[in-house]
């Protein structure tokens, strides 16, 4: 009996629902909309915090990603900066080596490239130590150059290293001439990376900017190598026979990093002390 009753209720409900769906919607619309609205608000009320939580979680995940990405980018940036530094250094070195290679072609002699590894203990003495020595064929009295011009001459050599007397040393002397008017003189070291051209008579016309080259008469330096440019000319006192000419070497002797040694068999003409 109860089973029949339940079945009857179910069938009735089915008919009611189907009847309502097929009939005029106006009758159920307010209820339906009320229900939909109510549900909507509840959904909204529930979905708000969930959306917020979801957003928070996503932000957290995103932040983590950003942090990781940042780290990766920072590392990449450091790597790239290092690489740029290396490339820049290689570019500069390349330019220097090209100049050194140019010397070899220009002079036509065998050359040995060497790196500067040390400077003199006494600041007023201009000597440097390079990492090539007797083993590599270097002997005292050989010409040392850098890209721009003459650096000096080898003074002492050990098996693997050599000491070089720079142009700016007080004990350095190189036979030179002014390229423009061929007036002869001696380039002597003045310390502080500078030189002066000695024994140029007052009648000789010397101008600031004149190029000074080796004359070749000292039998150490081949003729025509650039030494530097005249930076100042002073007449000096009346009693003096010669002008006071300051010469700035073509090579920055305080910053020279690589040099080339011209391998020749010429003897060391004058001893240092």
């Amino acid at each position: 009996m109860t089973a029949y009753l339940v079945l009857a209720v179910v069938v009735f409900l089915i008919f009611v629902v189907v009847g309502l769906r097929l009939g005029s919607p106006a009758a159920v619309s307010p209820v339906k909309y009320f229900f939909v609205d109510l549900t909507g608000y509840l959904q909204k009320g529930l979905s708000g915090p969930s959306r917020w939580g979801k957003k928070l979680w996503q932000s957290y995940l995103a932040l983590q990603d950003v942090e990781l990405e940042n780290k990766a980018l920072r590392q990449e940036m450091i790597q790239l900066q290092k690489e740029i530094g290396r490339y820049r250094e290689a570019l500069i070195a390349n330019a220097r080596f090209k100049r050194l290679l140019g010397i070899k072609e220009k002079v036509g002699a065998t050359v040995i490239t060497a790196n500067v590894v040390g400077v003199d203990l006494a600041p007023w003495l201009a000597t440097i130590t390079v990492d090539q020595g007797r083993k590599d064929g270097i002997k005292p009295g050989m010409v040392v150059m850098s890209g721009a011009g003459v650096v000096g001459q080898t003074m002492e050599t050990s098996l693997h290293f050599s000491k070089i007397l720079l142009l700016s040393d007080y004990n350095s002397a190189v036979a030179a001439l002014i390229q423009r008017n061929r007036a002869r003189g001696i380039i002597k070291g003045a310390g502080k990376g500078q030189c002066y051209l000695a024994y140029v008579e007052k009648v000789v016309d010397v101008e600031v900017g004149d190029r000074i080259i080796t004359s070749g008469t000292d039998r150490i330096f081949p003729k025509g190598l650039l030494i530097g440019k005249v930076s100042s000319v002073t007449e000096s006192s009346i009693s003096d026979l010669f002008q006071e000419i300051t010469v700035t070497p073509a090579v920055d002797l305080k910053r020279v990093e690589e040099v080339v040694v011209l391998v020749t068999n010429q003897p060391f003409v004058e001893s240092r002390h």
Binding site: V117, G118, V119, D120, L121, A122, P123, W124, L125, T127, T129, M155, K163, L165, D169, Y170, N171, G191, K192, K254, R255, R272, H273
Partner: protein, 168 residues
């Protein structure tokens, strides 16, 4: 003997640093010089004859790293050492300012010998005196470094019961 070798080792390390780093440590005709304070520090503690041998060793080592006339560094440092031994009984050198004054005074002797001996006497003023002043100003720092290094090296000897050096 061991102490003499240690001071030569200190000197060698200083020489290496000063010559390898080179120009950045030089200003005009002066430089950061640890050798003069080292000889002064050594001279305060070690008597003749062993002391002078180490100082001559330092001088010879210095000559290898310079184009100075032979024997000049040895002469300059030996002079400094003998001066400090001569005045030792009349000085107290514990405070920093006393170390400054002493090293400045000794530096003038060393710089004068080196400059005059190498034919650059005209640099004595102002560069020579500036160098002496710089050496003096930095002397407390160098003395501190040498004391620390010395105690680090010889602490093992002390632990093992080796008699502490007391020639002074």
């Amino acid at each position: 003997m061991k102490r003499a070798l240690v001071v030569i080792f200190f000197g060698y390390v200083l020489l290496l640093i000063e010559t390898a780093l080179g120009f950045p440590f030089q200003l005009g005709q002066i430089r950061l010089d640890g050798l003069v304070p080292l000889v002064a520090w050594y001279g305060l503690q070690h008597s003749l004859p062993c002391g002078i041998l180490a100082v001559l060793g330092l001088g010879i080592l210095s000559e290898q790293m310079s184009a100075m006339p032979e024997g000049l560094y040895a002469l300059a440092y030996a002079g400094e050492y003998l001066m400090i031994r001569y005045i030792l009984n009349h000085i107290v050198c514990t405070a920093a300012w006393q170390q400054m004054v002493l090293v400045s005074f000794l530096s003038i002797e060393v710089v004068a010998v080196l400059l005059i001996g190498s034919g650059a006497a005209e640099l004595l003023w102002p560069w020579g005196f500036a160098q002496a002043l710089l050496n003096g100003v930095l002397a407390p720092f160098w003395f501190f470094v040498f004391n620390k290094a010395n105690s680090a090296i010889f602490s093992e000897d002390l632990r093992l019961g080796v008699k502490k050096h007391s020639e002074v």
